[in-house]
């Protein structure tokens, strides 16, 4: 289309609005976290991050996020295949359920998990505790809460890709003698690879940052069940320069991991292939 003056004005106005919006909502506040973190130079930050509570909190966060992502990848791909490739009664209901974790507050998720799995009152938790497995106020609860809130991210990335590739390649593979597993590993998985990786990274980022649900199910005891986000909150509310530097440093690291993961994936992902 020809570039008229009116078009140019509209385009620049739109750009300014978007950039301004992102600046005030995202870029400026996040940049301020970085600025606050390094306001006294690098040394206090390194000292803050060396505290055993901080190291433990990050280890717990990373392991919880790892397991949550593993669970979500397996079930996410499974549920996506179920939603796209099969028709069954209740499919639409399942499809809507998948979005539930996005719409329900994480705090509610946490409370719900406590009701079911609490060692003292939960109706499943009591028998589990007798069998020697503590869920609430322990890592399994943290993993469950994290997996719950990040469940839709893999599915919402994989479903459209599965719909787009259709079933012909899979049928061709079957007619060429491939078993169900061979077809999945050699044809389906490579085809959904990038959608899946993107979904995994999004869920990793979401898992690292989960707060509300984890706060309720973990109890937030330092060196036992305190994750990085819980540590940030606790230190932020305490007095003293060391505590506030610790809070900002931990927050900065959390943001940094998420941003780096997204940048890596975005730069690796090939430009969208043309049809066929």
């Amino acid at each position: 289309m020809h570039d008229t003056a009116a078009h140019r004005v509209t385009r620049w106005t739109l750009r300014l609005i978007v950039i301004g919006y992102l600046l005030f909502l995202v870029i400026w506040p996040v940049a301020l976290v970085a600025a606050k973190t390094f306001s006294n130079g690098l040394a206090p930050v390194i000292d803050a991050l060396r505290q055993p509570e901080v190291i433990f909190a990050f280890q717990l966060t990373l392991s919880a996020a790892f397991w949550a992502v593993v669970i979500n990848t397996i079930f996410g791909v499974g549920i996506s295949l179920l939603l796209v490739r099969y028709t069954f009664p209740g499919r639409r209901a399942l499809n809507a359920m998948v979005d539930l974790p996005l719409s329900v507050s994480p705090v509610v998720v946490g409370l719900a998990l406590v009701l079911v799995y609490s060692g003292r009152t939960g109706w499943l938790g009591q028998s589990l505790e007798q069998a020697g497995l503590q869920v609430i106020y322990a890592p399994p609860g943290i993993i469950m809460a994290t997996a719950f809130v990040s469940l839709p991210l893999v599915i919402r990335e994989v479903v459209p890709v599965l719909q787009e590739i259709g079933t012909e390649q899979e049928q061709a593979a079957r007619s060429l003698g491939a078993s169900g597993l061979q077809t999945f590993v050699r044809i389906t998985l490579p085809a959904i690879k990038w959608g899946l990786i993107y979904g995994v990274v999004l869920s990793l980022a979401r898992s690292l940052g989960e707060f509300g649900a984890v706060k309720i199910v973990s109890g937030g005891v330092a060196m036992r069940t305190q994750t990085a986000t819980l540590l940030v909150e606790e230190r932020y509310q305490q007095f003293g320069v060391v505590n506030s530097i610790t809070a900002y440093a931990a927050a900065f690291i959390l943001a940094l991991i998420a941003v780096i993961a997204l940048i890596i994936v975005t730069s690796l992902r090939p430009p969208r292939e043309t049809s066929q």
Binding site: L176, G177, A178, R186, Q276
Partner: protein, 347 residues
């Protein structure tokens, strides 16, 4: 018999896709399943391949009852209309897929892939991705991929349907030559009667879930047993209550034995061919009769719009009597001279 289909039926909800199909396909033949879209021919092909399950009946491939066998165990090569290329694999990877999942030694796979790529003239494209090939090349790749597993039957679902006209013609001539070289029992689905007549040894005409007629192309063209087959296999026009091919009509500018009088209403030349609309004097209400002849003939007979003419089917013309439900002209024209033709007719 390479493929034996007995009593096969298939419904999708209330829609009857196939009804009680019996069909034998001989070993080494190139068979076309021909019919209009939605007639059930693709469904039948997919049932043979095991990609669709029949509601009733049985399928036997090379003497083995395949009715309950999954697609992966039927050893059938299937080629899809839209190629179904594995997008993330190279051309060589695509062709070798069937051997790879059979865990054949790497050397054997490489040798077989090389041989097949030569057969389909894609050797120089071995390391390309399907996205870098043209439609015709992708379809040849899909064929090589299907042939790699040495299938007992090769099934092609509208293989040239997504290609443009020139490539389509080229590729179907190539398919015919390939079949003469490889001799694998081949069944292909098409809605293009020219394609079927050009390539196939046997044509199976399928319409509304039933088989209308089975036979070699010439037999079907010359001796159709129904109005449907007659009109689906080539151009038809109506004369004296019969369907007749427009090029099977004799036309003169003077009366002759058994000929119907009329007048040329439209004169239309398309390349080497002249198409005439002739309005019959005895039945002004009936649609005009279409007559086609070569340009040389039309010139020699001084045919022009408005000229009075007489027409009749040539001796031995294939004709099918139109059943009663069709236009009023069928009734009035029953009294005309050409009624002496036996009905339903193949002369």
């Amino acid at each position: 018999m390479s493929i034996k289909i007995a009593g096969v039926g298939k419904r999708f909800g209330n829609f009857i896709a196939l009804e009680d199909i019996d069909l034998d396909i001989a070993t080494g033949e190139l068979t076309a399943l021909l019919g209009p879209s939605g007639g059930g021919k693709s469904t039948l092909l997919r049932i043979i391949a095991g990609l669709e399950v029949a509601d009733s009946g049985s399928v036997e491939i090379e003497g083995v009852n395949a009715t309950g066998l999954p697609a992966q165990k039927r050893n059938v090569g299937f080629v899809f209309q839209h190629y179904a290329a594995f997008r993330h694999l190279t051309v060589a990877g695509n062709v070798g897929f069937g051997l790879k999942v059979r865990k054949r030694p790497r050397k054997e796979i490489a040798a077989r892939v090389k041989e097949l790529l030569e057969l389909v003239h894609l050797s120089q494209f071995a390391d390309r991705l399907p996205a870098q090939l043209s439609g015709g090349q992708r379809q040849r790749m899909a064929l090589a991929r299907a042939l790699a597993i040495e299938p007992s039957v090769l099934l092609l679902d509208e293989p040239f349907g997504a290609l443009d006209a020139n490539v389509r013609k080229e590729l179907r001539a190539w398919l015919r030559r390939l079949h003469d070289e490889v001799h694998v029992t081949t069944v292909f689905v098409t809605h293009d009667q020219e394609e079927a007549l050009d390539v196939a040894d046997q044509i199976v005409v399928i319409n509304q879930g039933r088989i209308e007629q089975v036979g070699p192309p010439d037999e079907l063209y010359d001796h159709p047993t129904s109005e449907f087959v007659m009109s689906f296999l080539g151009p038809v026009t109506t004369l004296n209550g019969h369907l007749v091919r427009p090029h099977d009509l004799e036309i003169e500018t003077h009366p002759f034995e058994n000929a119907c009088p009329g007048r040329i209403e439209r004169f239309n030349r398309v390349g080497f061919e002249v198409r005439l609309d002739v309005r019959l004097t005895e039945d002004e209400m009936a649609p005009p009769v279409l007559v086609t002849l070569t340009r040389a003939e039309a010139t020699a007979k001084a045919l022009d719009p408005g000229v009075p003419v007489w027409i009749r089917p040539v001796a031995g013309a294939s004709q099918v009597r139109i059943s009663a439900h069709l236009p009023t002209s069928a009734v009035s024209l029953d009294l005309s001279p050409a009624d002496s033709v036996p009905q339903p007719t193949f002369t």
